[in-house]
């Protein structure tokens, strides 16, 4: 074992397996974006299961395992699923999930029955259907324009090319018909037609990936990378780009996890297809936790930062008011500041977080620590003045303009003062006729 790769690693073999995985992941994730956006994620699942009876029937009818009839049969079965689901839902008032469940489990079971029936005549293996045989990718080679490559790579590469071309050329039509089907149809871009085209792409992708990489991988790749990408970005172009990056990365990571990790731990290598799906799941978890838009951790972090910022403003506001109260005293005692305990009880907050906040304010140059007492610097005094000005302007505005009772204005102003920009302060001053006193009679300090 040298570094990341095991001794028997061969780019000749493993490289082709990874490439097959990447091609399948990319084609599935690309069309999957529009399934997820249309809230039809499970339709991909249904279609990729329902191709099984199509394969079986095509085999029983033609009695051959040649590719084209099998391919056609499977694609038709996929489209029947999509059509039947929609029909059951609209005609029978059955909800989307239930009609999907009915159609695809029935068809999948039918497929299994048919395959067992044909089993003595064919090497269609029900197990192979689920997790495929991506490991055998390099064995079956074809020659194309003088290049020798595995057949699977050729097939999946073609499918990816078709998906890229169709979605690239009809990008805006797919976008509109997914977002607003009735507007789309009214404009002459039939939402129904676009939906059917998407179903064809999903079915073709599922069938092409079916025997090589198995059904679990397609189902996962149709849904997981697009769903994860939507946690990262909220612009369609970038969502699609991210879904492709995540899909390709899961394929590489999955094969590595399947071959290297188990052996390093003394087990035998596991199925690459299944591991790629697991890798996609892991990447989704990462996005779920740290995605900048919806990530749980990012949101927690943002809330924490916002709370700290509010506490900091409360501190400088409190210190500014203290100086106001001691206006008559000499400069030294007026600007003497306060110790952490005094601040904590004055603001009604816990001492621990407050201490951290005070240290941050010292680093920022808002406060200075003189013998354990925190005092406003010149910059801190300006900030305090802004906070207090905003607070009192709000109180005046709430009483004068919004007719909020006097007893309630403080708590509202307390929240609003933290989000008040210079422009808003200006507007507030204007709308309260430039008054210099708030409803409690305190002076509203001027804008600094």
């Amino acid at each position: 074992m040298n570094g990341l790769w095991p001794d028997d690693w061969s780019w000749q073999l493993d490289g082709w397996i990874i490439l097959a995985g990447v091609l399948c992941a990319l084609s599935s994730a690309l069309v999957g974006n529009f399934l997820v956006l249309r809230k039809l994620s499970l339709l991909g699942d249904a279609i990729s299961h329902a191709v099984l009876p199509g394969l079986a029937i095509a085999f029983l009818v033609t009695a051959s395992r040649s590719s084209w009839p099998m391919f056609l049969g499977a694609v038709i079965a996929g489209l029947v699923t999509a059509g039947a689901t929609q029909w059951i839902r609209s005609a029978g008032k059955v909800d989307e999930g239930a009609s999907l469940g009915v159609v695809f489990t029935c068809l999948f079971a039918l497929g299994l029955v048919l395959i067992v029936q044909a089993a003595d005549r064919v090497d269609l293996d029900p197990g192979c259907v689920l997790y495929g045989a991506i490991e055998t990718t390099p064995l079956d080679q074809v020659s194309w324009l003088g290049w020798r490559m595995p057949r699977v790579v050729w097939v999946l590469g073609t499918v990816l090319l078709v998906n890229v071309l169709v979605l690239g050329v009809l990008y805006k039509e797919f976008q509109l018909s997914s977002f607003d089907p009735s507007m789309s149809t009214a404009l002459g871009i039939s939402a129904h037609g676009m939906h059917s085209l998407l179903m064809v792409l999903v079915a073709v992708t599922a069938v092409a990936s079916f025997e090589s990489v198995g059904n679990i991988l397609v189902v996962a790749m149709l849904v997981v990378p697009p769903a994860a990408a939507q946690l990262i970005s909220d612009r369609l172009g970038r969502v699609i780009a991210w879904s492709l990056i995540l899909a390709a990365f899961s394929a590489v990571l999955g094969h590595w996890l399947a071959t290297v990790v188990p052996r390093a731990m003394g087990y035998r290598a596991v199925s690459t297809s299944a591991m790629i799906a697991v890798a996609a799941g892991l990447l989704f978890c990462v996005c779920f936790l740290v995605g900048p838009r919806q990530g749980v951790l990012s949101r927690w972090w943002q809330r924490r930062a916002a709370a700290a910022e509010m506490l900091a403003e409360d501190v400088v506001g409190w210190l500014y008011r203290r100086e106001e109260k001691l206006a008559a005293a000499d400069k030294a005692s007026r600007e003497a500041g306060a110790g952490p305990e005094e601040l904590a009880s004055g603001l009604g907050v816990a001492l621990g977080p407050l201490r951290r906040n005070l240290k941050r304010l010292v680093r920022r140059g808002t406060l200075q620590n003189v013998a354990g007492r925190y005092q406003l610097t010149a910059a801190g005094r300006e900030e305090g003045q802004r906070v207090v000005r905003a607070h009192r302007l709000w109180e005046q505005y709430l009483v004068e303009q919004a007719e909020v009772p006097l007893s309630r204005i403080h708590e509202h102003a307390e929240r609003f003062e933290h989000v008040t920009t210079a422009r808003m302060r200006e507007a507030l001053a204007e709308q309260t006729d430039g008054t210099e006193r708030d409803p409690h009679g305190s002076r509203i300090p001027p804008e600094h």
Binding site: L170, M183, G188, R235
Partner: protein, 261 residues
């Protein structure tokens, strides 16, 4: 020549339109002729078939019978002259696009199949956003817009279409006062430019101020004509009061029979 002809032809005429949802009729023998350059308010109780009327006219729903003419021709021939503003709730506002993207969609027909959106298209969309007063929000993801701003986005999308007839499904529903005024201003500009709009509206108080024609609808046309003549207490009672009980009874009976079969 063309313009004088288009001045005189009816933007929309509907004759004997009947629409049914799963055999349950929702519109009965609906007929009216919208005069050019008018603002038509469509008014009626919930379930009166107002949205259904717009959708059926635009061929988004199948009709049982009836004839619909746009500018004297079929819808397919005159698609480019017709703009549709669906109900705000009809789309998923979490969709990953910004306000400018939504407005640009109004140009997709002019851009044509397979072609890409270019700078000039985006500039036109931007101008429409400016017209409805939210150009500064062009690059916000649409779920971050308020209800009123979302409605203005839809309105801007209709504006860039440059249609001659607009069908709007409740553009005034649940919007703030400023948006209400903005929508109204746009409607009046349209009228001044000789365009026609047919608007589903809920607020009876404002109907006489906003619309010069009114269509009172409750599964059938209760009354249609100039607002000053048609918008009377008597007609409103007919529309909202007596809920055509016999008709409903027959409808119910038909549905029951359908079930027993």
């Amino acid at each position: 020549m063309t313009s004088s002809r288009s001045q005189n032809e009816l933007p929309l005429s509907v004759y004997d339109l009947t629409v049914a949802y799963q055999r349950k009729p929702v519109l009965w023998d609906v007929g009216f002729e919208v005069p050019p350059g008018s603002l038509v308010g469509v008014v009626g109780p919930n379930g009166a078939g107002k949205s259904t009327l717009l959708k059926a006219v635009l061929e988004l729903l199948p009709k049982v019978s009836g004839q619909i003419r746009f500018f004297g021709g079929s819808y397919a021939e005159n698609r480019h002259r017709v703009g549709y503003v669906p109900q705000r709730e009809s789309v998923d506002w979490d969709f990953p696009i910004d306000a400018l993207d939504v407005v640009t969609m109004g140009l997709y027909r002019q851009i044509g199949w397979f072609r890409r959106v270019n700078r000039a298209h985006r500039d036109r969309a931007m101008a429409a956003l400016e017209q409805v007063g939210i150009a500064d929000l062009a690059h916000r993801q649409i779920s971050q817009l308020s209800g009123g701003q979302q409605q203005r986005t839809f309105l801007a999308r209709a504006l860039v279409q440059g249609a001659d007839l607009y069908l709007m499904d409740e553009p005034f529903a649940a919007v703030d006062a400023a948006t209400e005024l903005a929508v109204l201003a746009v409607l009046r500009e349209m009228k001044a430019a000789g365009k026609t709009a047919m608007v589903i509206h809920h607020d009876l108080q404002t109907v006489p101020h906003y619309f010069d024609y009114v269509l009172l609808l409750n599964m059938r046309v209760v009354a249609f004509g100039p607002t000053s003549e048609v918008f009377t207490t008597e007609n409103l009672q007919k529309t909202y009061g007596g809920r055509l009980t016999l008709l409903e009874e027959a409808t119910h009976a038909m549905r029951e029979r359908g079930r027993q079969r």
